[in-house]
């Protein structure tokens, strides 16, 4: 396929697929619990409904509260357009050092989501914001050390070649390192997207939440943006995991895309399985697991350079 067509497909997949991942996770969890569960398309209905609703703004808030969801969505969308999905350059062309941009774009989104939470002046939301930024302090080094492994293997600092099809040739030789990174990144995915065992998106007690409590006061279209932004973020991390775990290409891009979508849905199923079989960790245990993720990535780096 030619580049423009590829880019179009990339944009379509990146913008349309993410809510489906949420739907698949919910369905998986429902099946494990022996329920029928909502249809996998439910998140799309939720989004449409939210965008058509009116909104209530707290009298305490300022423009920062309104900017929060927008920045969160825009940065997640940019990250989704930056990350390579199949063996080609993404719509935002890959360049030396774009790996850092990817992580820092998500950081900008986190900054504004947390600032919007602090804008409400509610202790619950402030608490969520504090937890969110605290835990990402440990997730970030784990993510970066994983990137270091890929950079060392590919000898490049462009995401497109770091996660390109050449990665397949490294699995036989440097499989141990890559497996460690895969595990570490999966933990990072769960932490950054506030899934069990870090956070329970469906809990009913504000005190125990992280992400959900941060966005308590948003409503209507703004809440829709947050939900969609969260889905996009999940999509970005899932895409990274997919490229890391299945870097193979068939040689036909028209076949690669359906395979990619299938693999992404598999990741969603995996998340659903983890969420169904594990309990939430105590808040004080979370840093331990994240440090473990850092150590996994760090050992991945050490194994490569021995």
């Amino acid at each position: 396929m030619v580049a423009p067509l590829n880019n179009t497909v990339h944009v379509l997949v990146a913008l349309a697929l993410p809510p489906l991942l949420l739907g698949v996770i919910a369905k998986t969890k429902a099946l494990f619990a022996g329920r029928v569960g909502p249809p996998v398309w439910q998140p799309y209905h939720d989004l449409i409904k939210l965008f058509l609703k009116g909104s209530v703004y707290s009298t305490t808030t300022t423009w920062v509260f309104r900017a929060g969801p927008v920045v969160g969505l825009v940065t997640a969308a940019m990250a989704a357009l930056l990350v390579p999905l199949v063996d080609h350059s993404a719509p935002i062309p890959s360049f030396t050092g774009d790996l850092i941009l990817l992580a820092y774009l998500l950081g900008l989104g986190r900054f504004f989501t947390a600032a919007a939470a602090l804008d409400t002046g509610s202790a619950f939301e402030d608490m969520g914001a504090a937890r969110e930024v605290t835990f990402s302090c440990l997730a970030e080094p784990a993510f970066f050390l994983g990137l270091v492994v890929l950079a060392k293997l590919s000898g490049s600092l462009e995401l497109a070649s770091m996660l390109g099809s050449s990665l397949a040739s490294h699995w036989p030789t440097a499989g141990a390192s890559l497996a460690l990174v895969l595990l570490s990144w999966f933990i990072v995915l769960l932490a950054e997207n506030c899934r069990i065992p870090f956070d329970d998106p469906n809990t009913h007690l504000e005190l125990t939440m992280i992400h959900e409590v941060m966005v308590l006061d948003h409503s209507g279209p703004a809440l829709g943006m947050i939900l969609y932004g969260a889905a996009l973020k999940l999509f970005v991390f899932a895409a990274l995991i997919v490229r890391l775990a299945f870097p193979l290409t068939t040689g036909y891009t028209s076949l690669d895309w359906p395979l990619l979508v299938g693999a992404l849905l598999l990741v969603a199923v995996a998340i659903g399985v983890v969420e169904s079989t594990m309990a939430r960790l105590r808040l004080t245990q979370i840093p331990v697991l994240l440090v473990a993720a850092c150590l996994l990535s760090a050992f991945g780096v050490i194994l490569l350079t021995r």
Partner: protein
């Protein structure tokens, strides 16, 4: 060249005029601040000329007092540092003119303006001096003028202590610098910089020693851990426009010293780069870990300055490391990263201190637990502070991100080029840098969130009013510059290429510029930053337009069913950082807490105290100086306070002196 001297003259003369007009605060301000702006405007003409590629300008006149010559020069490296000196000083003068007027009933404004202008003149002279004596004299003028500015509110005991700590630290630092220059002078046989540049290369041992002395001596000025202890004391104590200047420019004079000395020492040894890089990482980690637990807004900013100096040190260290391992392109990358961050930090830290000063001006408090809700009451200050916070947390689309991105690239490329285990330090450096970056996000979400957002935590914060346009103007300009520097990083690098050619070999830098697209595509980062800005603006517009079509109503914040929420139930700065401080930080960096929970079944008073003193100052310097003072106090036996005892001392000294002289004569004869 003459133009820069004229600028210095304007600064000094207008300062003296302000001093003479001390009884009339408005006139003193007009002359002091006006003279500073004029001097800076005049001085920036030759600065820009050299920066944009004109040949260096120098002036040399015979002068016995300065051990040889009065020799000043504006070369690219000087002009690189002169630009922030003049630019930020002019803005600080405009801002400070209005800021200080609030004190006109309690204090004379003549002296602060005299010392402010002297401070700017001193920094200018430091950068253009070309002989050791001139350099050291200018260095002292700068340091002492800064001391007099720090102790502006000298009726407060904590300010006096801060000034004292600063004075001691800066003089201990200059002792090391002095030693480095003496060693250089011994080798070159002259105290002129030109002689240092052309002298025969030093042996590895001497060069290494001089490098270490420079890193310690100049590092004390730059705020490298563990020589940073004066910085979190002095910056909060000074008036805010002075804090901005000290943090934005003065501490960079330490880096100027290191860079200037590097041009004398020739190619670096293998261990220099890693030493500086490790020091930078340590500085960055300690700085940001302490920044995120401070209550005092200006102390947060002071510790964040330490962190940023660490990042600059890391960039320069990576550059030296790559240079010594024959990786010229990576060396260029590291130095470019360090230098770019020097400019960026001047912009964003100037902005942050101006904004903090505006908050202090309006609420008379810099304790963040007394603030809150200021975004509503001071929209311009609040907006500027938020932009500054995003920039300083190194997030796209602003300028801080670009330089941090370059530092990452330098580290990664260093690691990729090294083979085997020797690449591990660079790779783990990437992980630690990521940790610093995400801790910075915490520190600045906390700062802006607690100070600007939510509900006011005190009466004063509730009644705050926006500052005057004189104070807002410089802030808005700096916001604009932060945005511009984020979108056009390539232009910034272009302007500093003269300085980089001077520090590195010129062909190395040209090589790098040619391959910039593949090595470090700055222009692409600029485009992405611009795209992010446009996308965010578009998103906001779409949301606004869409909200018009749906119903929007206002209500109180959702209190989770609680009926009587009060502002005191909001999170505080202390609670925001609690989790990190208690669970992530090592023991010695944690705040000290003292907690008495209420006892019994019924509501009773409880007590909670928390304090984040500087661990290095508390555990290293204070015991050391206390013990030294105790030892020296034993010498008090000599101080009897009786005249005849002192006469005996004089007699003894005369006798010993005469004996010494006669022994020497006898020695010479025989």
């Amino acid at each position: 060249m003459d133009v820069v001297l004229v600028a210095i003259l304007i600064l000094v003369l207008s300062g003296i005029t302000a001093l003479a007009l001390a009884r009339r605060p408005r006139a003193a301000t007009a002359f002091g601040a006006g003279g500073a702006v004029l001097g800076c405007a005049v001085g920036s003409v030759p600065t820009l000329r050299v920066l944009l590629g004109a040949s260096p300008e120098s002036l040399r006149a015979a002068w016995d007092a300065a051990h040889g010559a009065f020799w000043v020069e504006v070369d690219p490296l000087s002009s690189f540092f002169l630009l922030p000196v003049f630019g930020l000083s002019a803005l600080a003068a405009v801002y400070g003119g209005n800021y200080l007027l609030a004190y006109r009933r309690q204090k004379s404004l003549g002296a602060p303006w005299f010392f402010f202008n002297l401070f700017v003149a001193g920094m200018t002279m430091v950068v253009i001096a070309r002989t050791v004596v001139l350099f050291l004299v200018a260095w002292e003028v700068m340091s002492i003028a800064a001391y007099c500015l720090v102790t502006f509110e000298h009726e407060r005991a904590d300010v006096r202590k801060a000034g004292w700590v600063y004075l001691v630290a800066t003089h201990l630092g200059v002792a090391f610098v002095f030693l480095a220059f003496v060693l250089l002078g011994r080798n070159a046989g002259s105290l002129e910089f030109e002689a240092f540049r052309t002298m025969p290369p030093l042996s590895a041992g001497w060069a290494g020693l001089i490098f270490l002395l420079a890193v310690i001596g100049f590092g004390a000025k730059a705020g490298f851990v563990p020589f940073h202890v004066w910085l979190p004391e002095a910056h909060p104590a000074a008036p805010s426009h002075v804090s901005a200047l000290m943090s934005g420019v003065m501490i960079k004079m330490g880096l100027y010293g290191v860079l200037r000395l590097l041009t004398f020492l020739g190619p670096p040894a293998v261990w220099w780069g890693p030493t500086l890089a490790c020091l930078g990482l340590l500085t960055g980690l300690v700085g940001i870990a302490l920044a995120l637990q401070q209550r005092d807004v200006k102390r947060v900013l002071a510790y964040s300055s330490i962190e940023n100096m660490g990042l600059i040190g890391l960039g320069l260290g990576v550059g030296l490391w790559a240079w010594a391992s024959q990786l010229p392109l990576v060396a260029a990358l590291g130095f470019a990263a360090g230098l770019l961050h020097i400019w960026n930090h001047a912009l964003m830290k100037g902005l942050m201190f101006f904004a903090a000063g505006s908050v202090l001006h309006a609420t008379h408090s810099k304790d963040m637990e007394q603030l809150g809700g200021l975004m509503k009451r001071m929209p311009w200050t609040g907006g500027s502070m938020l932009v500054g916070a995003v920039a300083i947390a190194a997030l796209p689309p602003l300028n801080g991100f670009v330089s941090e991105w370059l530092i990452y690239l330098g580290l990664l490329k260093c690691g990729l080029a090294a083979s085997g285990g020797s690449s591990l330090p660079a790779f783990f450096g990437v992980g630690l840098l990521a940790l610093i970056g995400s801790l910075a996000v915490v520190a600045f979400v906390r700062l802006t969130g607690i100070v600007l957002l939510g509900s006011p935590r005190s009466e004063a914060a509730g009644h705050a009013h926006e500052s005057s346009p004189w104070m807002l103007g410089p802030m808005v300009l700096l916001v604009f510059l932060c945005l511009a520097a984020g979108v056009f990083p390539q232009t910034m690098i272009g302007w500093m290429s003269g300085a980089l050619e001077q520090v590195l070999a010129s062909e190395v830098w040209r090589d790098f510029v040619e391959r910039e697209q593949s090595e470090a595509p700055l222009s692409l980062v600029g485009y992405v930053n611009a795209a992010a800005l446009v996308a965010i603006a578009a998103g906001v517009l779409v949301l606004l337009a869409w909200s018009r079509r749906t119903a929007v109503s206002q209500a109180a914040t959702w209190g989770c069913g609680y009926l009587m929420p009060t502002v005191r139930m909001q999170y505080t700065g202390g609670s925001f950082a609690e989790m990190i401080a208690e669970q992530l930080l090592p023991q010695f960096l944690r705040p000290r807490t003292d907690w008495q929970s209420p006892r019994g079944l019924f509501p009773a008073p409880g007590d909670f105290r928390s304090d984040s003193p500087d661990p290095v100052s508390e555990r290293v310097y204070e015991p050391f100086f206390r013990r030294t003072a105790e030892r020296f106090s034993r010498l008090r036996i000599l101080q009897q306070g009786k005249l005849h005892v002192y006469l005996v001392y004089i007699l003894l000294v005369v006798v010993i002196g005469l004996a010494w002289a006669s022994v020497r004569t006898w020695w010479a004869v025989s």
